[in-house]
Amino acid sequence: MTGQTRAVNARVPPGPLETKWERHKFDMKLVSPANKRKYTIIVVGTGLAGASAAATLSELGYRVIGITYHDSPRRAHSIAAQGGINAAKNYPNDGDSIFRLFYDTIKGGDFRAREANVYRLAEVSANIIDQCVAQGVPFAREYGGLLANRSFGGAQVSRTFYARGQTGQQLLLGAYQALERQIGRGAVDMHPHMEMLDLLVIDGRARGIVARDLITGQVQSFVGDAVVLATGGYGNVFYLSTNARMSNATAIWRAYKRGAALANPCFTQIHPTCIPVSGDYQSKLTLMSESLRNDGRVWVPARGGDARAPGDIPEAERDYYLERKYPAFGNLAPRDIASRAAKQVCDEGRGVGPAGLGVYLDFRDAIQRLGAGTIADRYGNLFEMYERITDEDPYRVPMRIYPAVHYTMGGLWVDYNLMSTVPGLHVIGEANFSDHGANRLGASALMQGLADGYFILPYTIGDYLASAKLARVEANGPEVRAIEADVAQRTQRLLAIKGRRTVDAFHRQLGRIVWEKCGMARNDAGLREALAEIPQLRAEFWENVAVPGTGESLNQALEKAGRVADFLELAELMCLDALQRTESCGAHFREESQTADGEALRDDEHFAYAAAWQYAGEGNAPLVAKEPLAFETVHLSQRSYK
């Protein structure tokens, strides 16, 4: 697998942006209804992307095998999304349109996403809301019975649909119920408690996966005609993040090692409004929905070391730094900008809370203006959640917040059809790199997951199946057996180390390295240090990790060990990617590349591309192919929220 970089071809259809998808749908080959049931599609993951895809593919008549490591499809990480989902419905009549959503997404992503994909996303966004309402998703309503909308992180129109602070839960339950309906009919063969540990690539095509049954420990294969990865993001490489604890990169990492290119791994989103770390036992960080910034004002004391209680600090001695620096957007400045600004004031010694790593999010003025009742209506459950965790009442004391890792824009590279560089391997949802460029806008991940799963992949995968000539694959054939043996051996190796340090101890240390050197701000020297430290840590891991128990039953320490082993490899690629991109863009802030007033400075001449990394074999430096990003419709401009 060494040798030359393989060029990547996005296969964007020709023609005007507005009609590409319509025309492409017509141009793609169809699989006839009677033939669909001859094809087996393996869908890994049952979050918004995976559940919607599996249900839809099965409704279309394909045979679907579903895989998740959770005990039920309903527990996928998507369940935790709070704030909402965007769609260009323009119900509030405030000037939204497909083009505006497209434009905002491209600009929000700091011009590092592919125009054609983003336009299509905006185009199908409206269908998602229709579909979800038909399924019974209880979105918020106005008194007249119409759907309610709100504006969300960085948008100047109200295009966000929501179900209290539980939008992800309700959207996922909608998709889950559609999926369970198909499972009940016998049309989807669902395997919970099953973790994908490798990809079966046979004759150059993805033909299945190898997985381990987490209850029995048995390693087994699932073969079919195409594979869909909907396995979510890799934010947990940082150890502490807002992601669910089990979220991991193993599926995409193993696909990468089998030949799928991985794009822009250094693009990770740090969310500005999370509850600060309280101690070293901390296992995850809790997101406080961004919607809070609609009414809360962000500030820190004007001078460093001011230890007075927030209520005792007079107005004149507060610095509402977002309102000061970004008067047009104020507290609603996009995530990357708001996060960096928080880091800056804390670096200046003006942070609040025990470790000085926090800023205030204050509702005093909003409560005075609107009354506590209205604020409770809007954010009651979030306030409760905050109080439960911190033991402080945000109606009386301002919240303390700090940025935390939240979302990964990077992921497996896919073409316009959402297919990776391995033919037959399709990637949807957060697991792919496609639509958010270098920074994702709030409420756009749910939109993308469901767009991919309900409305895009079910079409494009048909084109692949109808065009590919697929020979039969024997589940017992030597190629399959060999990869199964690989997987089983790796598990045995982890168990045989019998070292002294726990998996979590390694993971925490890795997280600290990546957070400090490949987090909110990166520089050449720091990245090079990380690139020296990570391989050392990895070597120590393989000599000294402690994994008790056996491989023949439920063994959560073993599961974690496998995931952290992969994080230890992925982290290195993230740093390499961050090192080669010497510009700043979106969430990727290279300290060497900033404007006079400290804003991110893009370099379009040299970096208007997606970096598609390719595995080159053990011990070899990975290769990088560059997909040039052509901006035919939107003019490249320096992003300004001033």
């Binding site: 229709d130 036992y281 979590d504």
Partner: protein, 257 residues
């Protein structure tokens, strides 16, 4: 803070289990209950022992993974919270804390505190959905839903499928879980066409899964981390009666041509 844990350890399904005591000294009051278990597990691993297996994922009370009886109470001492949302400041230092898996014939133990709750998925399969295949949905605002109906549907829909209601019920009934889904879908205009069919299907499945019968003890609503009201069960019973009375044999349509 210092605790002594009394934890149910069971190696595999169908094997005998037993309580084992573990000291848990030096725990921060700000640690969550699951973070406390993490700390204990880290120490166990360092000593070469197998950690206590427990289900968890989101750690913010929404995925429904975490599931344990804490001192005999499903999800522990904090009302309206899942085990992952309980913090150690809710306990007295020096306390002895007993931790067990859900106890229900319908939820066999897999290992330690981990149980098999797939029966709940099968109840959903039996009708807990609105049949609306992808594509062809009409514009969302063509369906008007009064705000109070939407709000009440959302209250019921907030169920996280953890199974605490079953674990807390002296009869081991899954009525609150089932009724919550029936209420969510039954309150919405989109849910009307299948309302009776849904009720009959889900109730029948509940019986097949060896859940007990509901005698309206009300323990379930106290244990529910989302505080779903037992009113849902009354509604389910009414709908069930109506569905039984009006049930007609289903006919397949279409013909052969």
């Amino acid at each position: 803070m210092d605790f002594t844990l009394r934890v149910w350890r069971q190696a595999a399904p169908g094997t005998p289990g037993r309580f084992v005591d573990y000291p848990a000294p030096g725990i921060s009051p700000d640690a969550s209950f699951l973070e406390m278990l993490d700390v204990v597990n880290e120490r166990l691993i360092e000593q070469g022992h197998e950690p206590i297996a427990f289900s968890h994922d989101c750690r913010e009370g929404i995925c429904g993974s975490c599931a344990m009886m804490i001192d005999g109470v499903a999800h522990g001492p904090v009302a309206g919270a899942a085990a992952c949302q309980v913090h150690m400041r809710s306990f007295r230092t020096g306390a002895r804390v007993t931790i067990e898996p859900w106890r229900s014939v319908a939820f066999p133990v897999i290992k330690d505190l981990v149980t098999d709750r797939s029966a709940l998925d099968r109840i959903i399969q039996a009708g807990g959905f609105i049949t609306a295949p992808t594509g062809g949905a009409r514009d969302a605002n063509e369906i008007l839903v009064p705000k109070d109906a939407a709000d009440a549907a959302m209250d019921a829909a907030s169920c996280i499928g953890c199974g605490a209601c079953v674990a807390a019920c002296p009869n081991g009934s899954a009525s609150l879980f089932t009724a919550a889904k029936l209420t969510h879908l039954g309150l919405l205009p989109q849910g009307q066409p299948e309302r009776s069919r849904r009720t009959l299907g889900m109730v029948a499945q509940m019986d097949r899964e060896h859940f007990g019968h509901c005698t309206l003890f009300g323990e379930c609503q106290d244990a529910c981390p989302k505080q779903i009201s037992i009113d849902a069960i009354a509604r389910m019973n009414r709908d069930y009666l109506h569905a039984v009375i009006t049930a007609r044999p289903e006919r397949s349509g279409g013909g052969t041509g």
